[in-house]
Amino acid sequence: MAVWRRLFANPSAAAGLVVILLYAFAALFAPVIAPYGPREMVLANRLKPPAFLEGGSPSHLLGTDHLGYDIFSRILYGARVSLLVGLISVAISLVIGTLLGCIAGYWRGWIDRILSRIADLLMGFPYLLFTIFAMAIIGPGFGNLIIALCFKAWVEFYRLARGEMLTENTKEYVEAARALGRRPVAIIVSEVLPNIYHSLLVLGTLRMGYMIIMEASLSFLGLGIPPSIPAWGSMVSAGRDQMLNAWWVATMPGLAIVGLVLAINLFGEGLREALDPRLRR
């Protein structure tokens, strides 16, 4: 499609996509690529510097942390957590938000009023605080983390979907579908959705970076992912005490986070630009 062509003409978007794919590849094949297991502790090798620094060795590319874990391996495994959490929570929020937004936008009336009030209420809370609060209530765990993240995230998709639905509803092609006698659900899914999904997709892509940072923040604080599973945020947290003597312990996972989120944002921006002019025909 012309969209892909335009997307790849944009160098930063293309670069972003490549990086994302690299991370995905790393996450997928972590057990194969990683030189060490995620919980392989060799206390004798603790706090070894990365290979490119003095004192480092190729056996630990990015060094080891205070417990002797190989940082490179843990970063690879950590990618799984981040990507999974990012993808799943965005997917769920998008679906829920779109569904509710379309319902509110099409039928209006009391259902619109109630949903929009709820949305406004949720929007009032700062995201991190809210998620921490939610985690504190429902407890730690992978599934619970995703629930907590989605709890507020759907509101953005709801707003966007509702807004788009309101706009499209006034357009004549929708009126034409009604005049033909199409059922409302058919109109929403078959007529309107193909015209609005792209902006939702762009929002989803951009939000994913945010979700990953949220996940990292939560695991940094010790909430969310159980400590036995390697996650970038908890790695950064653990490395805080070593900042002066072994800076790489905290910095490497931090860079991993930055790298992925940056790549996602670049790709998302590129996607938005590629889709936009096509719409302004």
Partner: protein
């Protein structure tokens, strides 16, 4: 025509409420504002006819067309299609009604889904009509050819067609339902004159071939005169005159019709009747006859207070004006056209 009419409209009203915020209501002491778009319309339409609906902006003609199709729920009144009460139909009945009564829109650029191919657009009415999947290709192709487009363009998107071609697609879509009645809402207003002519010819041919009944809404008097068997003139949500086309155009009865025809270019060298005052707003229709504030022939008290009914006139014509009813004669003014 002695057969039962295809469409009967009785005392139809459609008001839109423009809600005022609570604050505004407290400050101004007024309630919600109401747009009296359709303000008491009655007429019948017989099978095979073309009824032209003319009026200027604010006349309510588009709203009338849509309300008849129940694209808007009415405020009051009744519409009977083939004897059935349209506003009392349940969901299934409504779908059946929609299959028989279709609409073609004014804007060829907005009435087609930009993300669908023509094939997909035509697929919807075919599917709703119950055409089995295998036959849809053949039917869609036949429809395209019938409206003057090439079947091989079925897989193109609307933006790849010109305005006139898109309008043809819109007509094909309406036709695909095999309707009996088609409401045409300014179908050629957005098109160039030469394209207009093509579409008008197409509509004429289709009417003969498929035995269609048209409700043709337009502000363009010459097009209406060309296509219609009867014409209804609307003003501020009401029909002020109704009757067979040529007599209405040759000898208009209602003062508004006279002014309208005198203003339109090309309707013969009539003496120009200039209307004073501003065009009306359906937000605040005047009491009595809606036209009285601007009417050059207003007789006085009765025009200001009593709304003239749509009364019959010889020759199958109807006029809503006190000059032609008994009420006016009390003031000493005699109705001009002979009985």
């Amino acid at each position: 025509m002695s057969a039962a009419p295809l469409l009967e409209v009785r005392d139809l009203y459609k008001h839109f409420v423009l809600p005022r915020t609570l604050l505004s209501r407290l400050l101004t002491g007024q309630g919600n504002r109401i747009v009296h778009a359709v303000n008491g319309v009655s007429f019948v339409l017989h099978a095979g006819e073309t009824l032209g609906l003319v009026g200027e902006s604010g006349s309510g003609k588009s709203t009338l067309g849509r309300t008849i199709l129940r694209l808007y729920e009415p405020t009051a009144g009744e519409v009977r299609f083939d004897g059935q009460d349209v506003f009392r139909l349940d969901a299934a009945g409504l779908r059946r009604f929609r299959q028989q009564a279709q609409i073609v829109f004014q804007n060829p650029y907005a009435s087609l889904n930009p993300r669908k191919t023509v094939r997909q657009i035509l697929n919807v009415p075919l599917m709703l009509r119950g055409v089995p999947k295998q036959e849809r290709q053949a039917e869609a192709a036949a429809l395209m050819e019938r409206v003057g487009l090439a079947a091989r363009h079925l897989d193109r998107y609307p933006h790849q067609f010109s305005g006139g071609q898109r309008q043809r697609i819109g007509i094909a879509r309406a036709l695909a339902m095999h309707p009996r009645l088609i409401v045409l809402d300014e179908p050629v207003s957005a098109l160039d004159v030469s394209v207009q002519a093509q579409i008008i010819n197409l509509l004429e041919d289709l009417q003969l071939e498929y035995r269609l009944t048209y409700l043709f809404i337009s502000h363009d008097l010459s097009v209406v005169r060309h296509l219609s068997t009867r014409v209804a003139v609307m003003y501020l949500g009401q029909i002020v005159e109704l009757g067979p086309t040529e007599p209405l155009f040759e000898e208009p009865l209602h003062p508004y019709t006279r002014a309208l025809l005198s203003a339109a270019p090309g309707q013969g060298q009539r003496e120009r009747i200039i209307l004073q005052g501003a065009p009306p707003s359906p937000l605040d229709p005047p009491p009595g006859c809606p036209f009285h504030p601007r009417c050059p022939a207003a007789v006085g008290e009765v025009c200001r207070t009593v709304r003239p009914p749509l009364a019959p006139h010889p020759g199958g014509r109807w006029v809503s004006c006190h000059l032609y009813g008994g009420l006016a004669q009390e003031d000493g003014r005699v109705a001009s056209v002979g009985q």
